[in-house]
């Protein structure tokens, strides 16, 4: 059986006056029912554009898929008619956005907005859809759902709005829920509540989640698989444990090492990645991370292969990922890995 969702070497470029912006430039991953994929990377790494491409929400032009494919249950989404795409969007594949204030319509009652996909995709009449919306609000933990459904977004707090967004996304029982930085605008205690809610929903509905975030803590908590993106490219993909404990790409090393560590007594200086993220118009040739990579050699400027499977289910785009001597450089230097190794042996 084909996977639930398969993104295959996707290239989404934007053709602008200033040049071609290679926002997504070679991203591949697969997603199965009940799985959570964490997508991490810095701003401008192409995380959101990947998600919007799956939803077919990128206006074309200026955007264009110049290469690659997105398949939902084996069928190419890109080849579908606009009508077929509409049948998927908000129905089989739903999305939650970062800022619940700007993504809810301020002039409509919350209940009506949640009922909208039900009327559209499930042909429910107004009354039935409203009743279902009230039920959904209760399900996502909004007290007095009947009254709150009649309220407007501005009467909801940030956390409540995000719950309402989740209710809307869940309305049609989607196979895939794409959450683009769903908790970034929220306080940590509310973030924890929303993440727990998403986990509960997933256990109940067996839907797959694509969780886009820059917070490695959130991915560690939620994700089964992790996709690491840099400069529009997928640089590492694998099971969460593999990516955290046996990372195969220097960018992933850099991310993990940038975090302040508290289980060690020595508070030495943090180890940031040097330099600045690349401009997507002038991507360096070859590996786009090479200019910031502490381990780069001259050959990193050559044509890049993209993701290569280094061990079962664990992919890296680094040309040296298969070189045990190269990996040892990080393992020897990193306090990060040696701490975990020490802990495991205890």
């Amino acid at each position: 059986m084909p996977p639930l969702l398969e993104v295959d070497d996707l290239h989404m470029h934007f053709f602008t006056r200033d040049g071609v912006v290679k926002a997504v430039d070679g991203v591949s991953f697969t997603l199965e029912h009940g799985q959570t994929l964490g997508v991490v990377g810095e701003s401008g790494s192409g995380k959101s554009v990947t998600a919007l491409s799956i939803m077919r929400l990128i206006p074309e032009p200026p955007g264009k898929v110049v290469k690659g494919d997105i398949r939902f249950k084996g069928e190419s989404i890109l080849a579908m008619s606009e009508r077929e795409q509409r049948g998927l969007r908000g129905n089989r594949i739903a999305m939650i956005f970062q800022d619940p204030m700007t993504s809810l319509n301020p002039v409509h009652r919350v209940g009506r907005q949640i009922a909208e996909p039900l009327r559209l995709h499930k042909d429910m009449d107004r009354k039935a859809a409203w009743a279902a919306a009230v039920e959904l609000l209760a399900e996502v933990g909004i007290p007095q759902a009947r009254e709150r459904a009649r309220g407007y977004p501005h009467e909801f707090s940030g956390g409540m709005r995000q719950r309402a967004m989740i209710a809307m996304a869940l309305a049609c029982g989607p196979d895939i829920l794409i959450a683009d930085e769903p908790t970034t605008a929220l306080d940590v205690t509310i973030q924890a509540q929303i993440l727990e809610l998403m986990q509960e929903i997933q256990q109940r509905t067996k839907s797959a989640i694509i969780l886009i975030t820059h917070d490695l803590g959130v991915v560690a908590d939620m994700a089964d698989n992790i996709l690491v993106m840099y400069g529009g490219k997928a640089v590492e993909f694998g099971a969460a444990d593999d990516v955290f404990y046996r990372p195969l790409h220097p960018y992933t090393w850099g991310l993990l090492e940038s975090l302040p560590r508290h289980d060690v007594d020595d508070k030495g200086a943090l180890s940031p990645i040097k330099g600045q993220p690349p401009s997507l118009i002038n991507l360096p040739p070859g590996c786009s991370f090479a200019p910031r990579c502490a381990y780069a050699t001259r050959s990193c400027g050559d044509e890049q292969a993209g993701l290569v499977e280094m061990e079962p289910g664990h992919f890296s785009s680094c040309r040296f990922a298969g070189d045990a001597g190269f990996l040892a450089q990080f393992e020897n230097r990193s306090s990060y890995l040696s701490d975990y190794a020490q802990r495991d042996s205890q």
Partner: protein, 328 residues
């Protein structure tokens, strides 16, 4: 240890009106409600709390961007609240700000050089040429190319802009910098760069920081002491490691518990014990402990009497009736 800044019973209430056409007042937002703390010279005090807890208002009251409603602020032996006119202006040279959003806090129509020279212009320091030279030096100090003084903010990334925000704050050689969420708008790999820079500069210029943030891991990394605010009140105050290793206030415990750790094994074996509910409105809060509506340990006394900060041992201060009660 002498403290550079001593804040005592600081209160800031904002009146709430019933609308543009009404002169009636509807009580007040008690943004900051009687907090006290001190920062030692050359030290870093971390201030944590969720949005709306009054952390930014506290920062702004310190250099009188907001006029405090009551309480006293003593900076380097001066009573800040009595300062007027020229002496207030001179005091503000000593206390500078770094803001959260490096996109909003730099004027897009000014070059880096102009942005950095502006504090000197305002305080009438140096000639044009001297100011330019100082700006160049400062760019180098914060790790940017001195040639960039003629460039504009839009040409640079968030991390580079934040370096300019820091350079501007340093131009007047302040004694203290209030860092209001200085890294939360930046990417992870850049956050570490900026934090390292702040630490180097502290060393080099002997700076004192008030570091306001909601990111607990950064607070833990950079602060000597940490204070925790909830809805305008101080709930806990302690040496940083002690606070994180041994949090006492139920809110602090809940806050720490809510942070996911970047370690899948830990997350798999750990069930987060979450705080329920949300932060209530700061307009006319109920009497008693502000946290009692969300606290699972709350008893009757918590809803009646406001707890005060008391030492729970070794200078670890906590404002909670239950922590200080017999049965705890």
């Amino acid at each position: 240890m002498t403290s550079l800044l001593r804040v005592d019973g600081l209160t800031k209430h904002f009146p709430v009106s019933h609308g543009v056409f009404s002169s009636r007042l509807g009580g007040s937002v008690k943004a900051v409600d009687g907090i006290s703390f001190a920062i030692g010279r050359g030290e870093t005090l971390g201030l944590v709390g969720e949005s709306g807890c009054g952390k930014s208002t506290t920062g702004r009251c310190i250099n009188r961007l907001h006029e405090p409603s009551s309480g006293s602020i003593e900076f380097d032996g001066t009573d800040v609240r009595r300062l007027r006119g020229r002496r207030l202006k001179a005091f503000r040279r000593d206390v500078q700000f770094i803001f959260q959003d490096p996109y909003a806090s730099l004027n897009p129509r000014m070059t880096f050089g102009e942005i950095m020279a502006e504090p000197l212009v305002i305080h009438g320091i140096g000639s044009r040429r001297e100011r330019q030279e100082q700006a160049k030096d400062m760019l180098k100090t914060v790790g940017l190319n001195p040639e960039h003084i003629h460039r504009y903010p839009h040409e640079f990334s968030g991390g580079q802009r934040q370096r300019v925000g820091i350079a501007r704050a340093l131009m007047l050689r302040p004694k203290m910098i209030i860092c209001d969420e200085p890294v939360s708008a930046l990417d992870v790999s850049i956050q570490a760069q900026i934090i390292n820079l702040l630490e180097e500069l502290q060393e080099e210029f002997g700076l004192t920081y008030l570091f306001i943030a909601h990111d607990l891991s950064m607070i833990r990394y950079i602060s000597d002491d940490t204070i925790v605010m909830y809805l305008g009140t101080l709930v806990e105050k302690s040496e940083t490691e002690e606070l994180f290793e041994n949090p006492l206030h139920p809110y602090t415990i809940g806050l720490l518990e809510a942070v996911p750790i970047a370690d899948p094994d830990y997350e798999k074996s750990h069930k987060h014990d979450l705080l329920s509910g949300e932060v209530p409105s700061p307009i006319n809060p109920a009497p008693g402990c502000r946290f009692s509506s969300r606290c699972k340990f709350a008893k009757e006394i918590c809803r009646k009497e406001t707890p005060v900060l008391k030492d729970a041992g070794g200078g670890h201060m906590v404002a909670c009736h239950m922590v200080h009660s017999e049965e705890w």
